[in-house]
């Protein structure tokens, strides 16, 4: 048997025995026997010195290649788990079964959208403000140019707190709009300012799938000196906001309206976001969705806040947060918002 054949034989033997091994200590002794310092291959390589240059070249190359081959086979055997005592099949689990329950909470959809709106406005330099939900008659009505005996009071169905008091500053009501925060804020802060006021409001009307006595709205107020803030500014802020919110270009249409606390006053519509203004069932084929009311702050409101008539100019804008949430998630029953039903909340 030539040396070459001898090497071949060792290789064949080694691979055959490796395949039968299971435990790590068996692999270690196999390694010692074939690849170790006193192993069979090493011994053969050591004996190469006594051979002819021709034999040295062929057998030497073969011996080195075989050593490499056996080393690779050993690594493969180890990585394939032949080095473990474990019965892997017995250990097996159904990896497609659900994970251990880890409870995750959910924001109310109103909060979710409120945060989204806040982020868009704070990005434009607006501060998020807050105000009391029970407001004085003065802040909710009189200071906003809605006098006690004016029929504009009938535009909002109002709850009143039981009281003998007649002074509008001491007579209170669950606010009918977040505009009740306007004059209170203006008394404490001087323009320029940009604020948004999200919040809960109350209307004395019976509840059904599309009417609630309690819902959420948003107020946006931007006031500055001179004529820096005008109707064109409002249109810009409104278009920018809705385009960000719906993640597409949204146009705004202003129509004349009347609110005692703004002048000029507008109703404003946006391009129907479902049909992109082409006309569909949701927008009643008009291509427009009625979203809210707005206008330039009436100078009488500034006067109520102690500002000089004509010194400042700004816009006020209010819209139904609840309505926007209903549009966004296609919610058809407004009563779900106050239901506290986790089957509803956990969808968001």
């Amino acid at each position: 048997m030539t040396l070459f054949e001898h090497i071949q034989k060792i290789e064949k033997e080694a691979l055959a025995s490796l395949a039968k091994l299971k435990r790590p200590e068996q692999l270690a002794s196999w390694e010692g026997r074939y690849l170790g310092r006193k192993g069979e291959l090493t011994k053969l390589l050591k004996s190469l010195g006594s051979l002819s240059p021709e034999e040295k070249r062929t057998s030497g190359a073969k011996a080195n290649a075989t050593k490499l081959h056996l080393q690779q086979a050993l690594e493969k055997a180890r990585s394939q788990g032949q080095n473990s005592n474990t019965d892997w099949a017995k250990e097996a689990i159904d990896i497609t079964a659900p994970g251990t329950f880890q409870s995750v909470g959910h924001f109310h959809p109103i909060t979710l959208v409120e945060h989204q709106i806040e982020d868009i406005f704070t990005g434009m330099g607006f501060t998020v403000e807050d105000g009391p939900e029970v407001a004085s008659e003065w802040y909710n009505f009189d200071s906003l140019n809605v006098a006690k005996d004016h029929s504009a009071r009938d535009m909002q169905d109002t709850f009143w707190l039981k009281t003998e008091e007649t002074n509008p500053k001491k007579k209170f009501l669950p606010r009918t709009h977040t505009s009740s925060v306007q004059v209170d804020y203006m008394e404490k802060n001087k323009p320029p300012f940009r604020i948004i006021i999200p919040g809960k409001i109350f209307r004395n009307e019976a509840t059904d799938a599309s009417h609630e006595h309690t819902f959420h709205m948003f107020e946006c107020l931007m006031v500055d000196e001179g004529d820096r803030v005008n109707v064109g500014t409002f249109k810009y802020i409104a278009e920018t906001f809705f385009s960000e919110f719906f993640e597409k270009k949204v146009g705004v249409r202003l129509r004349p309206s009347y609110f005692p606390f703004t002048e000029p006053s507008f109703e404003f519509d946006i391009n129907c976001v479902l049909c992109d203004g082409r006309g569909c069932a949701v927008c009643k084929q008009s291509g427009w969705l009625e979203i809210g009311g707005a206008g330039m702050v009436n100078q009488k409101v500034f006067e109520a806040a102690g500002y000089k008539r004509g010194q400042y100019q700004g816009f006020a804008w209010g819209f139904g947060l609840t309505r926007l949430v209903m549009m966004k998630y296609k919610i058809t029953d407004i009563r779900l918002f106050m239901s506290g039903d986790l089957r509803f909340i956990r969808q968001f």
Binding site: S151, V231, D341
Partner: protein
Amino acid sequence: MKFSYHWLKELSGTKKSATELANLLIQHAFEVESIEKIESSLTAVVIGQVKTLRKHPNADRLRIVQVELGKGKKQEIVCGAPNVAVGQKVAVALPGTLLPGGRRIEEASIRGAVSHGMICSAKELGLGEDHGSILVLPSNAPLGVSFSEHFELADQVLDIKILPNRSSDALSCHGMAREIAALEKRILSSKKNSKSIKLKKHKNLPKIDIADAKGCARYIGLLFQNVEVASSPLWLKWKLIVSGLKPINNIVDITNYLMLLTGQPMHAFDADALEGGIIIRKAKPNEKIQLLNGEMKALTDEDLVIADAKKAVALAGVMGGIQTAVTEKTTNIVLEIANFDSATIRRTRIRHNLLTDASYRFERGLDPNLAGVVAPAALELFSNIVGSVSGGGRDVYPKPTKEERAVLPLSLVAGVLGAKLSPTEVTRSLKLLGFEVKKNGQALSVVVPTRRRDIHDAWDLVEEVGRLHGFEKIDARAPLVPLLPLQRNSFKAFERAVKEYLVSAGFDEVLTYSFYGEKEIKNTLLPLDHHLELANPLSPDQKYLRMNQIPLMLQKARENLRYVDVFDIFEWGSAFGKNSETGGPQEVKSLCLMSVLSKKEKNPYFVIKGKTEAFLEALRIDKDRITFELPSKFPTVPVLAMLHPTRSAVLAVDGEMLGMMGEFHPNVLQAFGLEPRLALAGFVCEILAKLQEKEKTFLPLQKYPYATRDISLNFPKKISYQEIARIFAEAGQPLLRKFELFDVYEHGQEKSLAFHLAFGLENRTLSSREMDAVFERIVALMSQKLKGKLRQSRIDEK
């Protein structure tokens, strides 16, 4: 208000279709809420003429009528109406015609005579109540032509929303026509509202005395004699029907028609029921009046009434009294065309809950000069339709309303709108709307017609100019404002951080109503008298403003248990109470956490406490300042009654309560039908936010190893962990770095607590002698102050 398209077209001269008109109005003036098509069902009814009459052979009260239907076509119809006469033009329903109300006319044999259709009464045509006699048409009605086509009965009704500011000039067909013309850049020639009119005097005309000048600016009384109360002509009836009113009789119909046309409400009195002159005054104490609707009203001295010498005869501007009402027997009428104070009428309307077409208009405010235009129109209509004799009239108008003047700087137009409009356009717009305009340098001097009670100053005029121009034409433009750092409202930021943490910690956010009823208050053992109460709740169970969210959250927990077994919910929201000093409302933001735990849970208290502690840590609340006290220490706080007396705690800072937590009183759970596996934590958010640590200072990391030692102590059962912890903190100074409870074991009247202790110094390793000294001090103080006995200790060097 409902407007007939035909009527608006006739008055305004517009050539636009109803839809085009609606679009024009929406963009420049008013919201058109709907356009309703009135499809007349009378297209198949034709106009005929009675040619001959003969008696029915078998019935005394019936006659056989031959009618001509044009182009020589004739038909025989059986008719029972007593007023049928040869030569009359009549409405004929031929066989196959479907009448309003669903009645189909067929050829029929009536007592042996064949009738080829029916001659219709007003009621059968849906045009009134009269059904005893047939409707006689004007003699110029063309034969054979469709009834509804000739009388233009097919119409479209525009429901236009007139907001309170424009009621004085636009809540009428005249006003709307004027507006339409202006939007089409035309000015209608019409009579201006008038300060003075000429009226004949008559001896029978009652004297008019305005005793309350504030309540009544103007009172015109017109006398009509020899009046015959009858049914109105067809055109008048139809105008009322289309506008949503019911025809009643010629007198009432004329007043309603004029109100729709001009916006001026009026009232007719039976002149013979008036005793003496007319006085406009406040009601007297204990005065009463029975109104036209039959209701008896007790009046107050704030109600304005129309009275004669003896009694109140009408609640001014709201409703007339029954004693002086016009009846079928009335022959003389006093017609009132007056102007009443809007606030007075509004208060009376609210006080007596009487919303009428008149009160609706008066409480929005009307131009006193309008009465001056309406009076001549009323004289003409009464003469033409009622055929009555005018007995003249009186016009009492002590202080005629004058036109207001305003100055409009042209720069304000551009400044407010953010769009440059030419002076010519501004001037033209105002003129189209009926303002008198003079250019005065860079400003316009404007005279405001008295009907525009909403226009007083330059800003009011800018709005007018803007809407005529079209707000939709104004370009969006980014503002040129200084770039300023964002001001943050730290409390709103805190709110958001709280919600974000709780959601990540597995809490679902709920929102509940701010109102509840007596039942919820009782069930949660809350004090009723601490609640704010609504004067006008939707229902008794929504009568009180919540003191906190807990009652409704318990209700929601109960409802959710039908679908989910274990859950955590929270709500951040306003809670209300009475301010102890002012008695007025007090409002705070309240945060409530509620956990519904597994049935196996024995100590819900510790679960919610763990959640609370993690929450405080996450929000960087200074926990060291918060103590957990027994509720019994706060006997004056009524909300604590809902808690389990010995398994709950008050969270306090320097003795001030900032929240509460723990398990519920069993009675509360029972009232809501809940099992004892609920726990709650509630906080006053304003106090909590103040405890947020604003700044942190870095502490160097411990370089030298801690020496740890375990200690186990026996205490009497009543000693609290908090007391023990205080001794550790006090006696351990400054070497004790940490102490951690790891075991509690109760036996008889004693309990045993085991702690891991860690000692250390910052600059060197601690000697065992030093540690022993501290340890001895701890043991000594535990024994001295809390009767604690050392069970064992174990040294464990690390």
